[in-house]
């Protein structure tokens, strides 16, 4: 197992290098002049000259790449042209929002999707199965922004003044703030630099948990429900369908027959002998869905007024703020590599045959 993981980690290195190269190249390939789009059409030659000098755009491309590599490796992702702030600072601010949203959307998708698939397969061809699969098929074809709008209208507007009311936008209610855990624990942390504590403190729910601010936690969670549901519905439906079909296939295999022949009760046959094997393709789907969640996050963040990665990426691409595009693309890619690593690990844990390779 350890050897397998070491190999996977080593394989990740060239992938990361490739990502560095691609993000760098992509930013240079964006059409349009960065100076003019940042400073406006009327910027003079002189001003642009100074601008290019400042952002290192006068160097040759290989030289730019060398500098880029050096900077990235030392944790410097450059400065946003538009905001005039370090990209790392923007990351500490924005990334936690998206990470939190994605996490809860995935949690929703897994916690609802897998049981749906299980029940559906267990009661194969019954009315429960049909109903579950109709739900899943509707869920898959639901546009994220539309679902988001409907949910925020339903729970935020239609149910106003009832117990079912849920906040339709933002991360915390007005007047509620949660003390950063590092402050509560008496650590001295520069809140603006790219540091793990700063990052963690910006994940409201986690931070609230750390400082045991139950009121804050409740409020943060309530704000999370609608966006997570909107974003999680498609992966939930995909996971439900995948769990069902995978389980049905496994239930027809020889070793399941053996389990039954041994006298294992049917519920245990499904939950122990079949489920673990059936999970393999589901884990793959979960990993892949995390990718599409990110594109969904742009829409969700817009609908629910959350300023996360999606929002800033969209703004930066349209505004040619390419240090930001570069930096966020890089971090997203790195997150992907990391997710893949987790998926591979999970795979190896679930299936001993894979550990061998």
């Amino acid at each position: 197992m350890a050897g397998y993981l070491a190999r996977r980690l080593t394989l990740a290195v060239p992938v990361l290098l490739g990502i560095l190269f691609v993000t760098f190249a992509l930013a240079r390939l964006l059409p349009g002049d960065p100076c003019r789009s940042a400073l406006g059409e009327r910027a003079t030659e002189q001003i642009c000259e100074a601008f290019n000098e400042r952002y290192g755009l006068n160097e040759s491309i290989p030289e730019q790449f060398r500098i880029y590599l050096r900077d990235v490796l030392s944790g410097d992702l450059g400065e946003s042209i538009k905001f005039g702030r370090p990209v790392t600072e923007l990351m500490v601010e924005r990334l936690p929002v998206t990470v939190e949203l994605t996490f809860f959307a995935m949690l929703f998708a897994v916690l609802i999707g897998i049981p749906m698939g299980l029940v559906s397969a267990y009661y194969h061809n019954s009315s429960v199965d049909v109903l579950t699969m109709i739900t899943a098929n509707i869920g898959v074809s639901m546009p994220v922004f539309w679902l988001g709008l409907m949910l925020s209208y339903l729970f935020g507007v239609a149910f106003r003044d009832t117990v079912l009311w849920l906040p339709p936008s933002g991360r915390l209610s007005a007047g509620i703030s949660i003390e950063p855990f590092y402050a509560a624990w008496g650590m001295s942390v520069n809140p603006d630099a790219l540091t793990l504590p700063g990052f963690i403190a910006n994940i409201n729910t986690l931070n609230a948990l750390l400082v045991q601010d139950w009121n804050g936690l409740g409020d943060a969670l309530r704000h999370m429900i609608l966006p997570a549901m909107a974003l999680g519905t498609i992966p939930m439906s995909i996971i439900a369908r995948m769990t069902r079909s995978s389980l049905l296939e496994v239930l027809g295999l020889n070793y399941v027959r053996t389990a039954r022949a041994k006298g294992v009760r049917e519920t245990k046959v499904v939950l122990k002998h079949a489920f673990r094997n059936a999970l393999l393709p589901v884990v793959t789907i979960i990993g892949l869905s995390l990718g599409s969640l990110l594109s969904g996050a742009v829409l969700t963040e817009t609908v629910f007024g959350l300023s996360g990665v999606g929002r800033i990426l969209y703004d930066s691409i349209t505004g040619r703020d390419y240090t930001v595009v570069q930096g966020f693309t890089l971090i997203i890619a790195v997150i992907f590599v990391f997710i893949n690593l987790v998926v591979d690990t999970l795979y190896a844990y679930l299936d001993p045959r894979i550990r061998l390779e």
Binding site: Y255, A259, G263, R265
Partner: protein
């Protein structure tokens, strides 16, 4: 004359298992597949009973029906399966799972795919003990190891920690046998236990099954399509064709004097060592479609005897089992009058 077996055997000889006129159908979109359509046989305590027939004749389905493990869209539509005098068809799911693995166990054709790939074989073996016997953890482990040793697995302590993919087919089949034997069942059903194995391993596994039978006075229902295995292993044989039993006799008698034209064909098709045949004497034609069964004898379209003896009934009416000689039954119109003309 017709099927007198029920009733005329004294009670003291109650068989361990008796299947009476079993019918298991699959209700598919294309029609009803009559996978088993009138199977009767009995298995006496301590014997090795062979069930033999071509691929698709319903041997495995018979085994699955006995265990009440027929998957949808299949269903046992009629018949009785008396095990120690109790009808398994009438048992509840819970009663059956208490019985499976404890009193009746089964080993399958594909040993490697019959073991769960994600669990250690030791844990899979211990699971049987865990379900059916109340043992302490260490006892369970100890017993599992001794089971592996008994089926001839070298270094059993280490093998307990193997995953199925780390074992050869022969080893995996030994694990399956150890699992089947763990709770000392009364009946072991072996469904083509050696078909997927190398020839040398085949012989070893068969030897193992026989010696376990001898040591534990167990009863074995050995399913195979290989007449060689039948000759070597079994005491009595049931021959199946297209979902029915067509002949039943002691092994010796069956080979010396096969009655049913199908059995005669099967025996003639055994390749004899050292003898070069002009052509392999296979039976011409194919098994009929199990959805649209011909009205008469299922074997009639392929039967040479029917033409030779000019029998006309065969295509119209299905023959019953005739007791041609004491304890020798055949489902063939040739023996309607008692079998003297054969």
């Amino acid at each position: 004359m017709v099927d007198k077996r029920n009733g005329n055997s004294p009670l003291s000889e109650q068989p361990l298992l008796e299947v009476r006129d079993l019918r298991t159908y699959f209700f598919t979109r294309r029609g009803t597949v009559k996978a088993i359509d009138g199977v009767s046989f009995r298995v006496n305590c301590g014997e090795i009973r062979g069930v033999v027939g071509e691929s698709g004749c319903g041997k495995s389905m018979t085994a699955m029906s006995i265990l009440q493990l027929v998957d949808k869209p299949g269903k046992i539509v009629s018949g009785e399966i008396l095990f120690k005098g109790e009808d398994l068809v009438k048992k509840s799911r819970r009663e059956m799972s208490r019985l499976r693995g404890k009193q009746i166990s089964v080993i399958f054709q594909e040993p490697r795919s019959s073991l769960n790939p994600v669990f250690k074989v030791g844990n899979q073996l211990r699971e049987v003990l865990h379900i059916h016997e109340e043992l302490k953890r260490e006892q369970e482990q100890k017993k599992a190891v001794s089971q592996l040793r008994e089926v001839g697995i070298p270094d059993p302590e280490r093998r307990m920690d193997n995953y199925p993919h780390e074992m050869s087919g022969g080893m995996a089949q030994r694990v399956m046998i150890a699992m089947g034997m763990a709770c000392a069942p009364d009946l072991l059903i072996a469904d083509e236990p050696t078909t997927a194995l190398d020839v040398t391993i085949q012989a070893q596994v068969l030897d193992l099954i026989r010696s376990l039978r001898d040591d534990h006075n167990m009863t074995v229902l050995l399913i195979t399509h290989d007449m060689g295995v039948v000759a070597e292993m079994t005491d009595n044989v049931t021959v199946m064709y297209a979902g029915t039993t067509v002949e039943e006799a002691s092994t010796e008698v069956l080979f010396a004097e096969p009655l049913h034209p199908y059995t005669q064909g099967l025996i003639a098709s055994i390749p004899v060592m050292g003898e070069v045949k002009e052509r392999l004497d296979v039976i011409p034609g194919t098994v009929p479609n199990l959805i649209d069964m011909p009205p008469g004898c299922r074997f009639a379209p392929r039967c040479r005897a029917r033409i030779e003896f000019g029998l006309e009934k065969c295509m119209v009416e299905e023959p019953p089992m005739f007791e041609v000689k004491p304890n020798h039954f055949a489902r063939c119109w040739l023996y309607e009058g008692g079998g003297d003309e054969a």
